[in-house]
Symmetry: C2
Amino acid sequence: MGYDLTLRDLHDLAEGAAVLGTGGGGDPYIGRLLVEREMAAGRRVHIIDAGELPDGALVLPSSMMGAPTVFVEKLPSGGGNVAAFRALEEHLGRRAHAVMPTECGGLNSMIPLMLGAQLGLPVVDADGMGRAFPELQMQTFGVLGVSGSPMAIASDHGDVCVITAGDNKRMEQLARALTVQMGGASYISDYPMDSAEVRRTSVHGTLSLCRDIGRTLREARAAHADPFDALTAMLAGTLYSLGVVLFRGKVTDVERRTVDGFARGRAVLRAIDSDDVLELTFQNEHLVARRDGRVLAIVPDLICTLATETGAPVPTESLAYGQRLTVYAISTPPIMRTPDALACFGPAGFGLTDPYVPLEELLPAART
Amino acid sequence: MGYDLTLRDLHDLAEGAAVLGTGGGGDPYIGRLLVEREMAAGRRVHIIDAGELPDGALVLPSSMMGAPTVFVEKLPSGGGNVAAFRALEEHLGRRAHAVMPTECGGLNSMIPLMLGAQLGLPVVDADGMGRAFPELQMQTFGVLGVSGSPMAIASDHGDVCVITAGDNKRMEQLARALTVQMGGASYISDYPMDSAEVRRTSVHGTLSLCRDIGRTLREARAAHADPFDALTAMLAGTLYSLGVVLFRGKVTDVERRTVDGFARGRAVLRAIDSDDVLELTFQNEHLVARRDGRVLAIVPDLICTLATETGAPVPTESLAYGQRLTVYAISTPPIMRTPDALACFGPAGFGLTDPYVPLEELLPAART
């Protein structure tokens, strides 16, 4: 059932989105400020379930593209998102009924909220991954047969392009090249869908899930309860079912480069009370967590770096020597674990040679 | 007055286009084969003057984009040019009355001929430079106020993008990034114009000029006459007015890299009967010719490398040690020498610090 987002919901949603951002996705804080500006101007953010969409309605996702490291230095102004959305409507010759996220993790949880407020359109409570991923073809939409293009891409400086690509991977390559030319960050609208396609191909309820994760962390802090225990209890009742602490330690090493429009690198954590070492590898998002060379969790399962004291999510661009972090893993929903899904955004989709093993099967190894 | 191109005209035009390609522009030979295929299938190439266009008609230029070094290894199939042209028509919501070249030098003299034959549209006898240039903003069209975008760009593999850029230089950057992703070569349709804009902003009669240059070289060879003398006599009666031999020698050194979608480098020639050395610098096309550090000719005046025996043009991608070449310079038409034009495609447009000095003023230095 549809609801209007309150300011407190928005803060909770932004924090939950940073958790599901798994170290990447861009800091939602920046996007939250843009949504707050819209709400302060009296515009509302109305969230609806996919089931509430009228049959045959056009839905256009909205997001930003680029390396999270770029967003830190070049704050999005929010001008290009309307341009991209309108360019795609114009190309399709139809008006959209609603906007939706492609990616509920990180900054891209906020971009469709801003756009919905700006245009007076509802925002569908669903996305294409229930987390964050670095590349445009990494979407349940595409895995389940929706074409990512035609898509529109716009800068904050008046450049707009409409791409029609041979396939979704080619779309990613073309849009990535444009994004680099646009200064490393762009606004896009891709995967145009009708209501039935949204209902069939998306991960449902993920905006509300972000809000609930943020609320759980906030309430645990207020009650001086352990935020990780609270999170695990809350996730048990969701599509994700399993959340678990993998490791606690201090950051001892971080390598980070912005290459070809991505933030790539690795981080090393050492346990406080032993010589155990955990290594995280990331491409915008954390891809794999290894202890002594053994995989403890691997993409598409979620690997989150959270502050040990508060449970507050720490993105890869903020990782720094000496931080006390808890590495917390969450199992992905079943729609993300089919063979087609794993071929697209499992380990092989990132060029990793490790096979995908579900988090719950790896847990015994994590505990030895 | 309109005329249908004969096969002999086509051969002459391709050779003349290679001369005006000034070492770059891509070898017209490849494009000539594509046009020949259309003519062999019974389709005609009809050339018209800009003055013959009906008022208010839409004219869409057509060309390829990329490094000439790429065209040598990856022959264009000619599929993407229709896709780009149709995508731009669709975006504009109008049908085009005619096609035209943006660049009569090199391969791009042939692409609109092929398209005109494929679509049954006349080809306007005019272009935006009367030679070849490496970047899309380097057009008299843009210098005289025409926007390069919206433009369409397509690969041979089903990818099509429509770009609307803030300015023509941004359009170049965005299209170049896409071209690199498309394998280093793409088909484009840019600078959509109406008849009045074509008449006001283009260099007129350049396709026929290419044909006449080719015919002059062919007839000189048949008559065992000096091809350079014949060329100089013929050019004296055209917009270009001045053609002159700058240097004769053998190639002693060539440096050539394909960087950021361009063929960049330099070539050194040594005179046969003295120690004189001429150095050519190129970015796809020859930009400047220097003897002992003194500039003998500089862009936008044309610097052509022609075989000493036959006058046959030799593109930079075919330059090789030991070749006997004649460096032949041609002065550009007045429309190419205005302050605005020089700011766009004079030495400063290529990052050269040398000032532009017209070829005819440099000639006394060349002869000492």
